[in-house]
Structure formats: C-alpha cells, structure tokens
C-alpha cells in the first residue's frame, strides 16, 4: 500500500499533433517504465486506427515511479486523454480521475481552440494545470510568445512552464519535477468506506469485465464483495492491480490510487462507466458525482453488407460499446438494407472511427447511411418529437414546423484566411456573431451554424481553404426553426429509404442534383435503363439516367478458354452478390457512401 502523499494522478491535454503521445512516451522512458529498446513509438496509442491517424481515442492509464530531486520516490499515474473535440466525454472521464493536467502547447503554433475546450473542462473539474511548451527544437519555435498567449488567452501563470522537446528528449525531467511539485497529492481517506469511480472498462475473455477505477476513499482487495449504487448485483473481487502499462496484480488499491478491479463481472450494465464502486458489506453513504449524460450529436444507420451477418454486427457493436459508453445504438430496419442499427455518435470523427473499428477489429463489411442530426418536429396536433432518421419523419401535412440543432462555432485562423472562412460559413447558412484578434497572427471568428451543415465536410473544408492553418471547435447551443424538407431518392421509380435525408429547403435542389449525378456514376449499368430521381414530397426535382448496359460479352469462347471464361463469369457473379437489390436495381454498397459527397471538388 502506498502513502497517498507520494502519489500524483494526472493527464495530458493537447491539441492534435502537438506531441502528447510523444511526451507520454518520453515520461515512461525516463521513469524506466519501458526501456528505449523495447519501445515501439507512441506506446499509449495502441489501437491501429489511433496510430495511423495520430490521435488518441481511448483512455490508457499507466503507472510510473519517479525519484524526485527531493529524495522521495513518487508514484505517477498518467491517464491519457483524447484530443479531438468529438471525445469531450472521454476527456471528462479521465479528468475526474486526476488532480492535475499537463497542458502541452506547441512552441510554434501557440494555443489552439480544441485545447481550450479541454482546459476549461479541466478547470471545471478543479484540476491544477501545468503548461508545458513543446517542440522548442523547431526553427519556428517562439516559446516566449507561446507563454504570453497562455497567460493572455487562458489566464494561467506560465512563468514556470517547462520548455521541452519531446521528440529530442530535451528537459523531460523538468516536467516530472513540476508534476511532483505543482500537482497536489490525492486527498481521500483510506480508512473510510470504499468509493471508487469507474472511468473505463473493457471485456476480457478470461477475467470478465475489467473496471478501470480511481479509488477516492477506502481500500479494495481480492475477496471483497463489491457493488455499485445503481445496481443490486454484487460480485467478489478476484484481482486488483495497476497499469504497468499492462495489467499488474497488486494486493490492494487504496485511496488516491488508480488501477483496475476484476470480479468476474459478466454484464457491463451492472458496473457502468461513471458509477461508483463501494463495498457491499460496508457501503459508503453516497456515490461520487458521475458524468454528464452522453448526448449523441450525429446519427447514422449501420447495416451488414451481407444481411445474414446481422448477429455478428450486433455482437461487435455491443463489444465496442463496452469501452465506449458514448456509442448509442438501437435496432433499425430499412427496406433497402434490411436489419441493422441506428447509431448515435459524439461527432463525425467518432462515427468514422466506430465504422473503421467494426471493419478492422471485427472484420465486418458494413454499409452506413448518410449522417443525420436530431431534428425537433412540432406537429400540427401540438405534439413535439425528435427525429434523427429521415424515414421516421411524419408526413408533411402533419408537420407544423421543424427546428434544427444550432452550434456556436469558434474558428481560429491567421487573418489571411478570414475571407475564405467567412465565405464558407455563409455557404453553410452561418450567422456571424463576432471576431476577436487574439494577437497579430490569430483571429477568433464566432459563428452560429446549423449542425447539419457541419457534419458533412465542414471540417475538411475549413482545413483545405486555410491550407490547414485554421482550427475549429463547436458546442451545441439549442434549436432554431428552419425550413427543412425530406429529400428522397428514387431508383427506377422506387424510393430508396437508405438514401433519404433531411435538408434545408434552399439546398434541396443543388443537393438533389449533385446526388443524382454522383449516383449515376456509382450505379453500374443494368440490363435496362434506370432513372435516378430526387424528389421532395411527390415532386421530382432532379433526374439522371443510368443507361442500359450495351456490351457485356466474352469475345471468343473456344476449347481452351472454357475454364478460364467460367472463372471470369464466377468473378462477375461474386461482384453481383456483394450488391443490394433495391426493387429491380442492383446497387453496390459504395453507392450508399455517395450521399456523403456534397460536391465534386
């Protein structure tokens, strides 16, 4: 059992690619957590997707030991946090397990919008914040200006901020010293009844659900009977331990520590993330404050490419939800795509990552429908419903009016690109709110934007129009009435429900036209002509035609060719099997992605 005086629990906050994972790796290296030789770059980012995209999605705690200049040995628990705005929920979970947060600021780029959101989140959680200026090795580094920016923009004292280069390993020890010096030791009473916050979990085939906990009060050890405040289910603790970074069993965990509990828990529902674990024999009086309820912002349908794989998809989504409580799903059916799920996500990136994980980690082939937001529909009878699935939209005659979610977006950019950004926001029906010069080279633009305009390609457009210099962050601020219509796509005269979407009236025509054009390219020619139409209500607003196939024949077919030609036809047949039939039209799954492309540039 460790004395909590010598424990520091902290996380790292940083903008994407400001060097968080690299710094974390250096800290582990310096504390001997992993030898340089064995180290694979960026240890914390263990998911394939994380490494490829250079982002952190999941929380990955790790424990280090550090002999400080004051002569004491400290136990440092580092809980990694995702940097992207989509993952605010994950961040708040990790923050709740810490007393301090390292804020990494890029010495050449200064403070970024996304960082701010997480800094405020940390301040809300009463965390001590230690600014660290990274990338001082870069020729464009301007550490003093970065410090000034921290003081001006965030209002933190940056005078003691270590100046480091995580890449080169410069001044890493300063960071550890500052952690020990400036971050408070965890408070908490080891002799009080057990209170441990579950901040993450995953399913292990042998041990059942593994709970990642921060022990606030009391102590937990194998043999203890535990429960949560929400459920009556009780389990006997089989194993407790710490992250090293793999699971390392220990005799007990006590107040102030971060570790895991395994208790042969079968169902995640009994011990949900955000719950407080306590001792069933001597329970605490009240739980720790949990997390804000997750709010899905973006929705889409996910269907198995092969209809018979529905159960595989169900299992896979269930398993992903185990350690990603922010993923919401419910069964759904589509005329075109059969049985699948309607899923809710924290944002677009979150959606993409879930799709990729389903494909990669579970080897599933899936079809996703166009992302949508949740619209508020006020019906003529006064009833108010929320609709995120276009096919559930009441008929036009039943709708009194509709409202769409609005976000307040902060876009940070060098002044040179203001024109381009303002043009983009205007195209996206944005309402200009204000503009602030943060310093000579950075401007903050504030806009109110409809969420449905930014879920498609807004982020990419901002980046491409500003050559990657601008960054942006948004928060939901409420609903506003808007003229929204349901845009249907008809293939050979039949509505394809999987391609329907809710759009603003003004963009319905161009959207319908572009979509028909894209679909015309994506739908293979059939034995008959296929009209592709866009319609609002019963009114056709755009049409393209997929011409009938005119040549599909194997030239010569004589003696020696027969086996080879049959193989060619078998291959053609395989391709056909991967298609979905919409009425009499056979459509490859890529077609359903066409809807994501708003224009051809």
């Amino acid at each position: 059992m460790s004395d909590s005086k010598y424990i520091r629990n902290f996380c790292i906050i940083a903008h994407i690619d400001h060097g968080k994972s690299t710094l974390a790796d250096r800290l582990m290296e310096l504390t001997g957590q992993v030898s340089e030789r064995d180290m694979e770059d960026q240890l914390l980012d263990s998911m394939d997707i994380e490494r490829e995209r250079g982002i952190t999605i999941k929380l990955t705690p790790v424990r280090m030991f550090y002999s400080a200049d004051d002569g004491n040995e400290y136990e440092l628990n580092l809980i990694d946090t995702p940097g992207h705005v989509d993952f605010t929920y994950e961040v708040s979970r990790s923050l709740a397990a810490c007393e301090g947060a390292i804020l990494i600021v890029d010495a050449s780029q200064g403070v970024e919008a996304q960082t701010l959101a997480n800094v405020y989140l940390a301040l809300e959680n009463d965390l001590e914040i230690l600014p660290v200026i990274n990338k001082i090795d870069l020729p464009s580094a301007r550490p003093e200006e970065a410090k000034k920016e921290i003081e001006e923009v965030i209002g933190l004292d940056a005078s003691y901020a270590p100046l480091v280069s995580a890449k080169e390993g410069t001044n890493i020890r300063d960071v550890l010293e500052a952690v020990v010096k400036y971050f408070p030791a965890p408070s908490g009473d080891s002799s009080a009844p057990l209170k441990a916050l579950i901040f993450d979990s995953y399913y292990d085939n042998y041990k059942g659900v593994i709970l990642f906990v921060r022990v606030k009060d009391g102590e937990v050890k194998p043999g203890d009977r535990i429960k949560t405040f929400r459920s009556d289910k009780q389990y006997d603790v089989v194993e407790v331990g710490v992250f090293s970074p793999g699971l390392l069993p220990r005799q007990s965990l006590s107040a102030g520590e971060v570790g895991y509990i395994a208790a042969s828990i079968k169902s995640i529902q009994d011990f949900a993330v955000g719950d407080t674990v306590t001792n069933a024999a001597a329970p605490a009086a009240e739980p720790l404050p949990g997390y804000k309820k997750v709010q899905s912002v973006v929705f889409c349908g996910i269907y198995p490419l092969d209809g018979s794989k529905f159960n595989d998809l169900k299992d896979a989504i269930g398993k992903l939800q185990l350690n990603d409580a922010s993923l919401l799903f419910e069964p759904d059916t589509s005329v075109a795509l059969g049985f699948g799920f309607r899923c809710g996500f924290l944002g677009l990136l979150h959606m993409e990552i879930i799709q990729e994980r389903l494909e990669r980690e579970f080897g599933l082939e899936i079809i996703t429908t166009a992302p949508s937001v949740s619209y508020k529909v006020v019906k003529t009878d006064g009833e108010c419903v929320y609709v995120d699935n276009p096919s559930h939209l009441p008929s036009a005659s039943e709708i009194e009016h509709m409202e769409e979610p609005i976000v307040k977006a902060d876009i940070f950019s060098p002044p040179d690109y203001l024109g381009q950004i303002m043009d983009l926001c205007r195209e996206k029906r944005g309402v200009f709110i204000g503009m602030t010069y943060l310093d000579k080279s950075r401007v903050k633009l504030e806009y109110e934007l409809p969420l449905n305009e930014i879920i498609f390609d807004f982020f990419d457009s901002v980046k491409s129009r500003t050559r990657g210099y601008a960054s942006f962050d948004y928060e939901l601020i409420g609903y506003k009435p808007a003229k929204l219509v349901k845009l249907d796509i008809l293939l050979n005269g039949e509505v394809c429900d999987a391609l329907s979407m809710i759009v603003h009236e003004d963009s319905a025509y161009p959207r319908g036209r572009t979509l028909c054009e894209n679909l015309k390219e994506a739908i293979p020619r059939q034995l008959f002509e296929v009209p592709v139409q866009a319609a609002i209500g019963g009114k056709i607003i755009a049409r393209e035609t997929v011409k009938a196939v005119r040549k599909d024949v194997l030239a010569k077919c004589y003696g020696g060719d027969i086996t080879r030609k049959k193989k060619l036809l078998e291959k053609q047949k395989e391709g056909k099997k991967r298609m979905r039939s919409i009425g009499s039209v056979e459509v490859p799954s890529e077609v359903f992605m066409q809807i994501l492309k708003t224009n051809k540039d």
């Binding site: 034995l527 008959f528 005119r550 040549k551 024949v553 077919c557 003696g559 020696g560 027969i562 049959k566």
Partner: protein
C-alpha cells in the same frame, strides 16, 4: 461426335493484342514440335478407342507459318491414331501474310476442307495498329487462292480509330471474296499485351461504341445472307463450324500440343503452357497435363448453360435433361422468371433474345450459384 484440336505455337511475329501461347522466334523447333505432337497423339490414343471423331482443327499461333509437310504429318497422325470420320471437317488457321499457292494446294491434298483466315480489318492502318504482319492485299491474294473453298474470315471490332462503317466495309470485303463464314469478335485488351497500353491510354473505343459496331456489323452480315449462330459467329447456310459448335454443345474433344485443352470422358485437362516443359514431358514419355478437373453437378450445369446461351439456339431442353436428368425450366424457374424480358422460352429451347445476345454475361451469371 468428338473433336481433335492441335495447337501450333509458332508465328511470324507477335500481334500486339495476342494473349495466346505463341513464339515468333522459335520456328527452328517446329520439326521437333510436330514430332512430339504426333507422339502425344499416339500415347493418348488408347483412351479414345471406340470414340468417333468428326472434326480436326489445327490452330495457333499460325499453323500456316510452319513447313506445309508438317501439317500433312499432323493430319496423317490424327487419321492413324484416331477414328476420324472420312467426312470429318478439317480446319486450318492461316495468316494471309504466310500463304502461297503450293501451301494451299498441299493442305487440300492432305484433306483440309475448311480454312480460317485472319483478316481482322480491311484497313491497313488498323492492321498495323494491331501488329498484324499482313495487309489488305495479302488477304485478297489469299482469298483468291481459296476461291470456291469453304473458308472463314476473322473480323475484329473495337479497334483504335475504327468506325461502324469500317466494320461493315471489312465484312463486305470478306463477302466479296467468297467467305462462307465470318467470325466477328471484339478486341479484348488483355493485361500484359502491348495493346493494353492503348486501352489504358483511352485510345480504344468504349463499350457503347463497340456495341454500336457490333450492331452495324450484325445488320450488314444479315443483309448479306450470313446467319448468326453464335454471338460472334456467322455463316452461310450449312457452313457452321462443326468443331466450334461441339465446344458450345459441351461435346468431347482432345487437344494436343503446348497449352491445348481437352474435355474428354467428363474431365477437363490442360497441357503446360511452357514449350520446354512440353518437350521434356513428351520426350520422357509422359503426358504434359498441368491441370485436370471433373466438373460435376452445379459446375457442369453452369458450364452447359454458359456455353449454350452463347449460341443463337440457346439451351436445348432435351439435351439438358439427358445430360443432368432434371428439368431446366424447373431447376432455374426463378431466374427465368426474373429475366423474362431477356429470354425467349420456346417448345424445346430457352434462348437469349437476339437483342440481348451482346450483353449475355449479365444474363448468364444469373444462372450461376
């Protein structure tokens, strides 16, 4: 009735679209090669005892490029080792740039009664683009030598800079010089051939243009009295290639020589594509087979359908029943219903409607499991 195929893997020069087993620089090996082919025929013959053969087809490559006496040896061997009917159809493929009067009269003496001439196009620039070693004049010379004979002219569509009118003109030339049979087929740019680069560069006509050429060719052929009996094959009455019809009727045949395929007693087998390997096998008194399969059940049915639907007559319900013991209309009821607009269901036949013959793959694959 069964067929015999003999492959001659030599040619004067390699055409730019050629994907067949053929060597332009190994003519010196022709004598040894023909000796090996005869040896292979001899070695295989016990298996064919009691089987009647009705066709012999000498293809390539360019059979007319080798010494004419070798052709005589091959025909003699076929007659010696196999029960080849006296009225057998004996075909030889020829490149118009490699023939002369003495060759043709010798072939006839040996029993050749059908000739297949690679005309391809009546436009010299298109022949040059294909890398053909002949011109329109070579064809005219060759066709005059074949006057009164039963001969086929190959015509290609889908060539660089080709128009529908060019196709019709080529057909008219073949007709004017007396071709009793015309094979009109689309150029297939195979990966690895020089013409594939033209394809990648977008220099070849697209599918719609090729379809238009085919339609133009078809109407021209029909107006000149050629009947379409298979998607790419047209002939005057009674001049069908019996050898090729046998393939489409899923009949038996034995193939000899490098890369030749056979379908005999229910087994499909193929010889090696490697010339040295072929020599080595035959000279060491072995066969040169590299792959053998016995298509059964569904596989066999799919083959039957794939081949039969190529022909204008389509699937013969009687033949299907006698081959597989079940009823075609019952076995494929759902597909036939789905494709009713493309199929013609008659008394004893199911065939692809003439206007859909050129998109037959989309139809045939529906019958595949």
């Amino acid at each position: 009735m069964a067929g015999i195929y003999v492959h001659i893997p030599f040619c004067k020069s390699k055409c730019r679209y050629c994907d067949f087993t053929s060597f332009p620089d190994k003519l010196n090996l022709a004598e040894s090669y023909v000796a090996c082919v005869c040896r292979e025929m001899s070695k295989r013959s016990p298996a064919a005892e009691g089987v009647n053969f009705d066709t012999l087809y000498i293809g390539g490559g360019t059979p007319s490029v080798i010494d004419k006496t070798y052709i005589g040896m091959i025909i003699a061997a076929a007659k010696k080792y196999y029960n080849l009917s006296p009225s057998a159809e004996i075909t030889i493929e020829m490149n118009p740039g490699t023939v002369d009067e003495s060759k043709i009269s010798f072939y006839k003496k040996c029993g050749v009664n059908r000739f297949s001439v690679g005309l391809q196009s009546a436009i010299d620039s298109q022949l040059a683009d294909l890398g053909r070693c002949h011109t329109l004049n070579s064809f005219v010379y060759c066709a005059k030598l074949l006057k009164g004979e039963n001969f086929n002219a190959d015509v290609m569509i889908g060539l660089k800079n080709q128009t529908a009118e060019d196709v019709q003109n080529t057909i008219k030339v073949a007709h004017a010089f007396g071709a009793s049979h015309i094979s009109m087929y689309a150029l297939t740019p195979e990966d690895g051939t020089p013409i594939y680069t033209d394809y990648l560069n977008g220099e070849l006509p697209d599918g719609d243009e090729v379809a238009a050429m085919y339609a133009a060719g078809l109407s021209c052929l029909e107006s000149l009295g050629y009947r379409r009996y298979e998607v790419s094959n047209f002939c005057k009455e009674g001049k069908e290639s019996r050898h090729n019809l046998n393939y489409w009727h899923r009949g038996e045949y034995l193939g000899f020589g490098v890369s030749a395929s056979s379908f005999f007693k229910g087994v499909r087998f193929t010889n090696t594509f490697d010339l040295d390997e072929y020599f080595k096998c035959i000279l060491s008194d072995n066969f040169a087979v590299i792959d053998a399969q016995k298509p059964e059940g569904e596989d066999a049915r799919e083959e039957f359908i794939m081949l039969a639907l190529r022909t204008a007559d389509g699937v013969c319900l009687q033949d299907y029943k006698s081959c597989f013991g079940s009823d075609f209309l019952t076995d494929y009821a759902a597909v036939i219903k789905k494709l009713s607009h493309c199929l013609e269901v008659g008394e004893n036949r199911v065939r692809i409607r003439p206007e859909y013959l050129f998109v037959q793959n989309s139809i045939i694959v529906e019958f595949f499991a």
